[in-house]
């Protein structure tokens, strides 16, 4: 009964490829997020989705695109992968009016 799940856990791919990371939450939350954690452990928000509307988009390259088929899912698509995209990507969710977010286990992306 995992609250926030991500697949895959590890993803190794070559430069130039297109890949997706899936995220699902079973908490009934209405807002979902994607974060990037770099090699120095620094976490930075990339996107958030509320009721299928993008409400935050930090300075993220347009090669990255979140897609939300429904309220329980927020997938991250990455086109033309670059070496600098190597990182751990975390999905999170929260409910309206709540401040805390619940995180998935992370996806370690390695671009070679």
């Amino acid at each position: 009964d995992t609250a926030v799940s991500q697949t895959p856990k590890y993803l190794v791919t070559q430069m130039g490829n297109d890949k997706s990371i899936k995220c699902e939450q079973n908490l009934g939350h209405d807002t979902m997020y994607w974060y990037k954690q770099d090699s120095k452990k620094f976490l930075k928000i990339m996107f958030s989705y509320n009721n299928k509307e993008l409400i935050i988009n930090e300075t993220v390259p347009n090669r990255f695109s979140p897609k939300s088929p429904d309220k329980a899912h927020l997938n991250l698509h990455i086109n033309s992968l670059e070496l600098g995209d190597s990182a751990v990507y975390f999905c999170a969710s929260s409910s309206r009016g709540a401040n805390e977010q619940y995180f998935g286990p992370g996806t370690r992306l390695t671009v070679t």
């Binding site: 620094f42 976490l43 975390f90 401040n99 805390e100 995180f103 992370g106």
Partner: protein, 113 residues
């Protein structure tokens, strides 16, 4: 705008001794503050949160934190460290609105046997 400063990148304590992880914040609004823990190769787990109720907040695993508005601090403490506490700890602020969470750079807690 909001920001978080974790004052120590690494903290090393002996098992059974107290733990203090320091955090200062800035926010344009009355913030909500959190501590998250990340064990090696794991996701982030919420330890505790402050949301303008009691200034002393108790969390899981014996951790607690005190919100001090005058000092803009939200330090994390534990009376007696355990080996299983070795992890990365993140202080986090949510200033409200659509900005989401802002993370500090993390403090790596090392527990010496």
């Amino acid at each position: 705008a909001q920001s978080v400063t974790q004052l120590d990148s690494h903290v090393s304590v002996s098992e059974g001794t107290p733990v203090l992880l320091r955090c200062n914040y800035s926010s344009s609004y009355s913030p909500s503050l959190f501590w998250y823990v990340q064990h090696p190769n794991k996701g982030l787990q919420l330890l505790l949160k402050y949301t303008s109720a009691a200034t002393l907040v108790k969390g899981i695993n014996g951790f607690e934190a005190e919100f001090k508005k005058s000092e803009t601090s939200f330090h994390l403490t534990k009376p007696s460290a355990h080996m299983s506490d070795a992890a990365e700890y993140f202080c986090v602020v949510n200033g409200g609105g659509a900005d989401g969470l802002t993370f500090g750079k993390g403090t790596h807690l090392i527990i010496q046997p």
